[in-house]
Amino acid sequence: MKIYPKTISEARNLLKSRSMSSVELTQMYLDRINEMDSQIHAYLGVYDDVLDQAADADAQIRAGIDLPLLGVPISIKDNIMFQGHTASAASKILGNYIAPYNAHIIDELRRAGAVLIGRTNMDEFAMGGSCENSAYGPTHNPLDISRVPGGSSGGAAASVTADMCVAAIGTDTGGSVRLPASFCGLCGLYPTYGSTSRYGLIAMGSSFDQAGSLGRSVDDCATLFTVLSTYDARDAQSIPIANRKQILSEVKKIGIPRSLIAMDGVSEVVRSEFERLLNELKTKGYEIVDIELPHITASVPTYYIIIPAEASTNLSRMDGIRYGVRAKGVDLLDIYMNSKGEGFGPEVQRRLLLGAYVLSAGYYDAYYGKATQVRELIRQEILKTFETVDVILTPTATSGAPLIGAKSDPVAMYMMDIFTVPANLSGCPALSVPFGQDGSIPLGMHMMAPHWGENRLFTLGRDIESLNNQ
């Protein structure tokens, strides 16, 4: 029986001790993908040069070079540009699109020695929370294939949980790394907005998008965060290193937004497991306090106004002329409309229509203008709260992983993001760590820290991780 390394440090130890070469390790994962992925559908494709990358890593290991990810196979979400390889954002409209350059984070991963194994399935253009909206078919949760893996980085999470790579890189706009982490029993990090470069990510909501990491341990997320969080002048929102605050990693006081946890739709199992966690954290010496965030329950409606507005702007270039597969038409408008009508799936079309609505002259102030104001209200309430607590703690999702097809109503799907979108609205970092079960399905707990407070998240995350492993 093959034993797959569970963490980056386990994989690195195997490689450093020469118990296994990177080519052997990568081949083991490729065999696993061949054997398993017809059931899971985590990958849209394996990179054809993956064994060459692994051979290069072996040469570096033999030369005594030590890098944080040297020789470690990592999967990449399909909306991240890896030069010379397909990057389709799981959409038919970009089905034949070959990335002409590397995303900044790809350069950083390669510089750290990672072996990029393949591109993972996702909700089309990262629009969805279940990984059912891919134009190439849904991904199944490896822990129970009748259930979703979460989304939009569902393929990324499934690739790790199914032992088809060591760790994964996804993107997170409203919970797209943390929800799959919760549903697949992994750790998932959304870093401070501006800490990782968006250069080379296929944009969805530019004021929210960040690359995030998925792994089996908090340490894996910390390692990947260190590798990815470098300054990049090509992203206007990338924050120079000198302007990044130093935040103490110590966590003493944890704030609980009770109004959010009391909302309709949060399952009783999630609530009881959350209370069990709070009791265990109290026993470990943490101070737990209730906090008031008066407008946080409006996070989802606020998010689902701003996101379609930004997405409709970002995706306007996918018109069959500038980007995307071109459909036939009698004139230019007809070509645009047919290309988008045939190229985009239902959820993308829904959001683009909504984006056109909230940005149109008669509705702009009532929707988009109001939502940007409420976003700022929520952001300021969250930042003020961090003057009195170190971390805000909630569950990650309203339930364990739903059955495939169970959430056919878009609003019900959107409400699954209730605990994750406040971090994106405020740009604060957030981490999901497994804790508790709903039957055989894992649950995740979600912690949010002030900007640049990733180390606080790792401190508390490691404690929750150890409680879950007891």
């Binding site: 106004i305 230019l332 909504l354 984006g355 109503d409």
Partner: protein
């Protein structure tokens, strides 16, 4: 309320062809989403609230400026090809 006429108008704005068989489902979904996001109407923003980033309405009426015949002539003469007062470009579609 959203109706089919508004949906088709939005479809043109978004440059998406909505197939006739998809219209009822799109209308139902859209109305559900509008009901959800309309929750923001109940939130009162305090008059004295300090916004770090405020978006103002960027839509405005078009203002047609009068160009002098001399300006038009200079633009046309600087262009590679022209027909009367129109700029001429190769047909690409």
């Amino acid at each position: 309320m959203i109706d089919e006429e508004l949906l088709q108008k939005l479809a043109i704005l978004a440059r998406i062809k909505v197939q006739p068989q998809d219209v009822p489902a799109r209308l139902a979904d859209f109305q559900g989403i509008l009901d959800c996001i309309s929750e923001l109407n109940s939130i009162q923003i305090p008059d004295d609230f300090q916004f770090a980033h405020t978006h103002s309405n960027i839509t405005r009426e078009d203002i047609i400026a009068q160009a002098s015949p001399d300006t038009v002539g200079r633009i046309i003469s600087a262009f590679p090809d022209s027909v009367d007062t129109h700029l001429s470009v190769p047909k690409v579609l």
